[in-house]
């Protein structure tokens, strides 16, 4: 599952290589969303800090 952002960006790069800019942007947005969701899944512990 954590490999999803990488593969989505690979898909975005492939789309860009073949000239499909809008498709590549869609893949990039999906990759960013995947990255943020995975970060949310991993950043659950409370930090014991005073900021």
């Amino acid at each position: 599952m954590m490999s999803i952002p990488f593969f989505l960006i690979v898909a975005a790069l492939a789309a860009a290589w073949f000239g499909h800019r809008h498709a590549s942007l869609a893949f990039w947005a999906a990759g960013l969303l995947g990255l943020l969701l995975l970060f949310r899944a991993h950043a659950t512990d409370v930090l014991n800090l005073v900021l």
Binding site: M2, S3, P5, F6, A14, A16, L35, F39, H42, N48
Partner: protein
């Protein structure tokens, strides 16, 4: 700054991002320093950010492509700072190897900030966006090398992550590749 010079600088930038990914890969493969989940997400953020540079190479410099880079770099900086904060209190441990006194997640934060600064500097030069001078659909040799290398590194990181974590979330402190047991 002419569009051609901008493209060359974007290619160099993409090669620099690729160098970061190669360095992390080398540490993983040759020094058996398996990336933790947040480490993997920082690599993914480098890939997400670097894609903006790749788009500049392919379609010519555009402010929107730099925006993708900024968004990816900011996401990466947030992830790296989260990992720094986990270990910031002395005695709470660290993860992975250090380089020149800083652990990789600290370096990642520094590099993401440098990427934001570098992008801001690039955006100062409006003439690079002159479309009539941009030769889209004609990648230079340097641009092709940077684009393909970056794509291979993104693919390699994806495959490596599958080997390490299989189909689920990665273990917090990975000691081996789940699919190679």
């Amino acid at each position: 700054m002419t569009p051609a010079l901008s493209l060359r600088l974007n290619a160099v930038g993409l090669l620099a991002v690729s160098a970061v990914l190669i360095f992390a890969f080398a540490d993983q493969l040759f020094l058996a320093d398996l990336p933790c989940p947040l480490c993997i997400l920082q690599r993914a953020a480098f890939v997400v950010a670097g894609f903006g540079l790749a788009l500049n190479l392919r379609f010519g410099p555009r402010a929107s492509h730099y925006a993708l880079l900024l968004i990816g770099a900011l996401a990466g900086a947030v992830i790296a700072s989260r990992q720094i904060l986990i270990h910031i209190v002395p005695g709470t441990g660290t993860y992975g190897h250090a380089l020149l006194g800083l652990h990789f997640y600290s370096w990642a934060f520094v590099i993401f900030v440098v990427m934001v600064l570098g992008t801001a500097l690039m955006l100062l030069f409006d003439h690079q966006f002159a479309e009539d001078e941009v030769t889209a659909d004609r990648l230079s040799a340097l641009s092709k090398v940077a684009f393909v290398l970056f794509g291979l590194l993104a693919l390699g990181n994806g495959l490596s992550t599958v080997l390490e974590c299989a189909g689920g979330l990665c273990p917090d402190n990975p000691t081996d590749y789940l699919l190679l047991r």
